[in-house]
Symmetry: C2
Subunit: 422 residues, 2 copies
């Protein structure tokens, strides 16, 4: 398996555009409307937030993806179109209709995703202008600058073709765009997977995820595509947390256009396993990027739980530890406080043997069979000051393992979220 350039446009037959449409505040230049377009209808699968409060674009995409066919996705940041009532549902539909018309596609083949502030109706004149501008870029091929204008704004917007522009256009409090592509061999046919994602706050596992978009040139049966997406999501996006809060807008959409020409992948075959492993790899890279880019974060925290009685138990414990505010604050302070880790493990809702727990921080053993081990505090401090830290928890109850990712809790998290809306 080989990591390559290109994000979601690495597989043949996919194009993207990202434009500035003034949704993220007037006068700025940040991109906030994007399109992902395939040259032909794709087999499509999606996973969505499990929140009881689902944003309008989630409800619509969920309905559209149920057909198993999509050719494009229209996206915006700066406004989540969540808790926006009937108008919000209509606005989401209008986004797909405008994109469909501009791209010459049936709107039923256009998925939709939004992210940003909750409870404010979309500025549809600007959104529509942005979609049209992005569609013009996609239809024309690579273009350096296109103006996206709306009646109430005079700002000409920088517009860019390609995966970077789209990955930037879905960012909110993200500090860097998140995309990856990788290529692997499937029975002699090279297959490519491209993926992009956004997410920084309101990130919590066991749900869909934040926004994620994946493309592949593999030929694959619809049920196999959905199964692969669900399996990969469980091991990647569902194993990260930033703050325990789950978004109303989480969705991941996977488009497969089949242009690689491989024998179509079906469930229960070695090819399915190979494809799912590659998909999991691509999505895990982005999941870790989201965790590292958690709001205010200074470091990535990885928690590996092993020796668990079941995989479900290992997952629950890993996610509880990495989501603990006390563990996260201790990580920020580079305090080797393993008591926070074992206390979090104890409240994960699954049985553990409190007398057989072994904990290491990087290579530093701090607890052996639940007995404190004297360790070099200077060494621990130096390790915990790094930008990537690993906690390993061995429960010695069985053979199951799981890995979860998160970030530290910092002054900047409080700052960002003390004034997110204002």
């Amino acid at each position: 398996m080989q990591i390559i350039n290109g994000g979601v446009t690495a597989p043949a037959g996919f194009k993207t555009a990202g434009v500035h449409a003034n949704i993220k505040g007037k006068g700025g230049t940040k991109k906030d409307v994007a399109l992902l377009v395939a040259s032909a209808p794709c087999t499509a699968a999606g996973v969505y937030t499990l929140s009881e409060v689902k944003a309008a674009p989630v409800l619509l995409s969920q309905e559209l993806t149920a057909s198993g066919r999509l050719q494009a996705v229209v996206m915006n940041s700066g406004n989540a179109n969540a808790c926006t009532g009937q108008q919000g549902l209509q606005d989401a539909k209008t986004m797909t209709e405008v994109a469909g018309e501009a791209l010459g596609l049936d709107p039923k083949l256009v998925g939709v995703a939004s992210t940003g502030v909750i409870g404010v109706n979309l500025p549809m004149d600007r959104v529509i202008a942005g979609i049209k501008a992005a569609a013009a870029v996609v239809m024309a091929g690579p273009v350096a600058e296109v103006a996206a204008t709306a009646d109430d704004t005079a700002t000409a917007a920088a517009t860019t073709f390609g995966p970077d522009a789209a990955a930037e256009a879905i960012m909110t409090t993200d500090t860097f765009p998140k995309q990856v592509a990788l290529r692997f061999d499937l029975n002699g046919t090279p297959i490519t997977i491209g993926a992009m994602a956004k997410g920084s706050g309101m990130i919590h596992p066991n749900m869909g995820t934040m926004l994620g978009f994946v493309t592949t040139d593999a030929a694959i049966a619809p049920d196999a595509l959905l199964a692969a997406l669900r399996a990969a999501t469980d091991l990647s996006y569902n194993m990260i947390t930033v703050d325990g809060d789950t978004s109303t807008n989480d969705q991941v959409i996977l488009l497969a256009n089949g242009v690689a020409g491989n024998e179509p992948i079906t469930l229960g075959t070695p090819a399915y396993e190979t494809f799912t492993a590659a998909l999991t790899e691509a999505m895990t890279i982005l999941a870790k990027a989201i965790a590292r880019d958690g709001e205010g974060a200074t470091k990535l925290i990885e928690v590996q739980v092993k020796g668990a009685a079941s995989e479900a138990a290992a997952r629950a414990i890993a996610k509880t530890i990495v989501g603990s505010s006390l563990v996260k604050a201790a990580a920020f302070g580079a305090d080797a406080n393993w008591g926070r880790i074992i206390a979090a493990a104890g409240r994960a809702g699954v049985p553990i043997n409190q007398f057989t727990v072994t904990i290491t921080m990087g290579e530093i053993l701090v607890l052996q069979d639940s007995t404190p081990v004297p360790f070099d505090e200077e060494l621990a401090l130096a390790y915990l000051k790094g930008d990537s830290i690993l906690f390993t928890v061995d429960l010695k109850m069985g053979e199951a393992a799981a890995t979860a990712w998160g970030c530290d809790l910092t002054y900047d998290y409080v700052k960002i979220n003390g004034s997110y809306r204002t």
Copy 2:
């Protein structure tokens, strides 16, 4: 029902002492060992942390309280005696033995509770000296100053008789002691309930609580006492959260000595309901004090959920909202971001109708039937800057309601927990 002075010594027949035994760091003067002693054996009940990792004093108290009889409780702060192996279990037992001997009681009548840092064995010479000093105070009655000395410390410690001293001696990161007493009439007999508690961080509902001790002069059957304690805990300590982290050391012990002379209270009677209501009131006052004194907190947040389909649903939603890091950070920043509130409600794990939610902040309506209501931002800012704020969420699905309490997430929470151990 009338609030009176005296904390746990307000009911007749209870004495307390709190001493400085140098457990909280040498050279300081903070009290860290306390005794609560009744003049005769009491009917006793306890509730304990549901964490899979239980501290030694929790395991021992749980065993002792199963008999339904206790006459004293020995407590320390500065060290949780958690994750301390066989030595920890022996140390907890020694604490009860030393207290029993000094007080002339069977050690099986002495409960034990600890709070503080995890994973460090107790400095038993200092603990023993502290218990002996506290016992001397209790045996002698009110005394102004008694020296608590241990072999390895020369610091004379200020010692105080009475409820303030004990409430202070169980504090960790608490900024004020927490106690209350109230008196009510039961069929012509005045009954008194006294209570004290500690807790500031590692506070999360649905478990026992942090340390809590309750006394009463009521005569009450053991099964009724335990039922009343469980019911009151569910509505008070189990409805607060500071950070979603559950302690290894949570316990609440309730002692009833019967000296009020009332006809013994039994289950299923109006007297039981009256007693439970009073107990709930006392424990709720302390629960709110713990929430207000959450680590780094600048304000108390109360969340009232009504119109829920069931009480369990109302409780889950109220606790999820008040525990949301995003809601807590927005409260700190006085940002009227109701989107955070409805998003948290959506992930509480119970069904809600996302189109019928009404939210008010104090008296300010911000969301009506899931439609945003324009409101005066200046007024909202002024309200949210207060030291007590109320969010009301009406789901319009049924008749059930619940209230939960918490606090804001601040820079100081991060600061306190970034360097708790070091």
